[in-house]
Amino acid sequence: MALSLSARTRPRRRGPQARRQRLGLLFVLPAVALVLGIFVVPVVVTAVMSFYDWSLLGQRRFIGLDNYRRLGEDTQFWQSLGFTTLYTVIVTAALLVVGFGLALAVRHRRRGVGVLRTAFVMPVVIGFATAAYLTLWLLDDRIGIVPDLLRRAGLVEGSVSVFSTFPTALAAVVVLVVWKTVGLTMLLLMTGMQAISQDFYEAAQVDGARPARMFRSITLPLLRPTIGLVLILTVIGSYLAFDQFFILTQGGPDNSTIPVVYLIYRAGFIDFDLGYSAAMSIGLMVILLILTAIQLLVVRNREDS
């Protein structure tokens, strides 16, 4: 009887064991449903919206590829993309260099190293917005400690308005980002370094290798997967920067520090042009997917060779 029943209903799996396996679907269902509703559906809807002239106030009209044509000719979008790329390159380079320095310093067991690690990671856990409010105060011309110290040291005279020129504004944001996130880079690199077998270093030492050579010939090559992960996280994180610019530079001076997410926000929720905002969103998504794919390929190819 059992045989005929199972043959009719579920040809592949039978009995209480199979019924138990199907329970798994119930366990994953709440999470999957939420992700579908709050993430997968919006991805599809965003793609659809990008083909519409869609106002936040209600009116909508199908316009085909017009939003994308407009995007292609939008100098502000391309400028913003260029700026975001510049920012990403600078931040990524700075984080890798500083992160490597800190990781090399704290990777070994040494008295007090735990305290150092904790100190370097501490800013990672506060929010970007919070860190930006803090920076705003520290750099304020009138009441900030940094301009005060610069004046006392005789390095500058008169007022110090960091956010009134492009290079100083960008530098301030980069310093903030390195301060706030380098602890994460350090932890990731440190973990990767600790996973490298000591045998390699012992063998190299027997051969008379110097520390610099060991770093170049052992640490760097064996750390490639970790560096790949750090690169992907940093590049994606930087391309999505928003809070720090919104709070610190507000896009200025002269709209020179507008990251792409800022434009998406502005188009959709200041100009109420959701369709165009959606087209920019899709553009950003495609750029990030391509970047991630390239980085994954580069990391993998190097591992193979």
């Binding site: 679907l25 070994h108 990671v121 803090l134 929720f269």
Partner: protein
């Protein structure tokens, strides 16, 4: 302190010691990296200390290092401005997110680790895809969908969004944690007649508790610190979370910026994160070494 520093350390074997990079002698090492560490901690410490200045002293030129007189004026003004409401919002949204993200991650992590059901691979891929596609690129439609459901200007809406932010990492972590538990543990419970849910809750969850702590911790930081979604999905001040209401304070009504109140608000935003990190930092580090983390 100098005596503790000179105590010989016996747990380190002698031959290993020679392998340490001696590129910096101890004195130089501690000076350089001690100062650097100070640079990382000092701004936060000074922020907290300065919040106890009077509002006038806080906005003084040039700034004073320490409060000349201990004052709770900034805190008083913060409360008077109604900002306690936004602190309560942040606490509520964060508590909701931590609870939802942890429960859903445990359930789904268990399901993906222990059961072979149809579509399992596809559904796991769907969860992971949220790590590849940034939330920032679905903002326009997510706003419309939440609005349609009456979930804009709603703390529940924020909880749902933040839970989705936290889920990929949470499910990934919990799946790994459950996979590491020997199947025999569970089989014994099932032979004893326990149902799946009670096995999960009474037998397995205590074993994977460190993973649960990691998931809860990351959900906490995500929800407490998030800015952009809260900025867009709430438009009334009484619904703002703490980071967003501070941005409003910064632009201020008529350009009147009270520095003391703004930065004391930043203290409220920063201190819970730092305190929780200091207490639970090993779970934080475990989360990083266990796998990838979304931006």
């Amino acid at each position: 302190m100098s005596t503790t520093l000179t105590v010989p350390r016996e747990r380190v074997a002698a031959p290993r010691r020679t392998l340490r990079p001696q590129w910096l002698p101890a004195a130089a090492f501690y000076t350089v990296f001690g100062l650097l560490a100070l640079l990382f901690v000092a701004p936060l410490a000074w922020l907290v200390v300065s919040s106890f200045k009077s509002s006038a002293e806080f906005a003084q030129t040039p700034p004073t290092l320490l409060p000349t007189r201990f004052s709770l004026e900034n805190y008083q003004r913060l409360l008077d401005a109604g900002l306690w409401r936004n602190v309560v919002n942040s606490v509520g949204v964060t508590a909701g997110t931590v609870l939802a993200a942890t429960v859903l991650s445990v359930l789904a992590g268990y399901g993906f680790a222990r059961f072979r059901f149809r579509l399992r691979g596809l559904l796991f891929l769907v969860i992971l895809s949220t790590m590849m596609i940034p939330f920032q690129s679905i903002i326009p439609s997510l706003y419309l969908i939440l609005d349609e459901l009456g979930l804009t200007n709603s703390l529940l809406g924020l909880v749902l969004v933040y839970t989705v932010f936290a889920l990929p990492f949470g499910i990934f972590t919990m799946r790994a944690a459950f996979t590491a538990v020997p199947a025999a543990v569970e089989e014994a419970a099932i032979v004893d007649g326990a149902g799946s849910l009670s096995t999960l809750w009474r037998v397995l969850v205590p074993i994977v508790a460190p993973g649960v702590a990691t998931v809860a911790l990351y959900a906490f930081f995500t929800a407490w610190n998030e800015f952009l979604a809260a900025l867009i999905f709430t438009t009334r001040q009484e619904q703002y979370t703490l980071p967003v209401v501070l941005a409003n304070l910064q632009t201020g009504a008529g350009g009147t910026l009270n520095w003391g109140v703004l930065e004391t608000g930043a203290v409220f935003a920063a201190v819970p994160c730092i305190a929780i990190f200091l207490i639970l930092q090993r779970y934080y580090v475990a989360g990083l070494t266990g796998g990838a983390v979304k931006g």
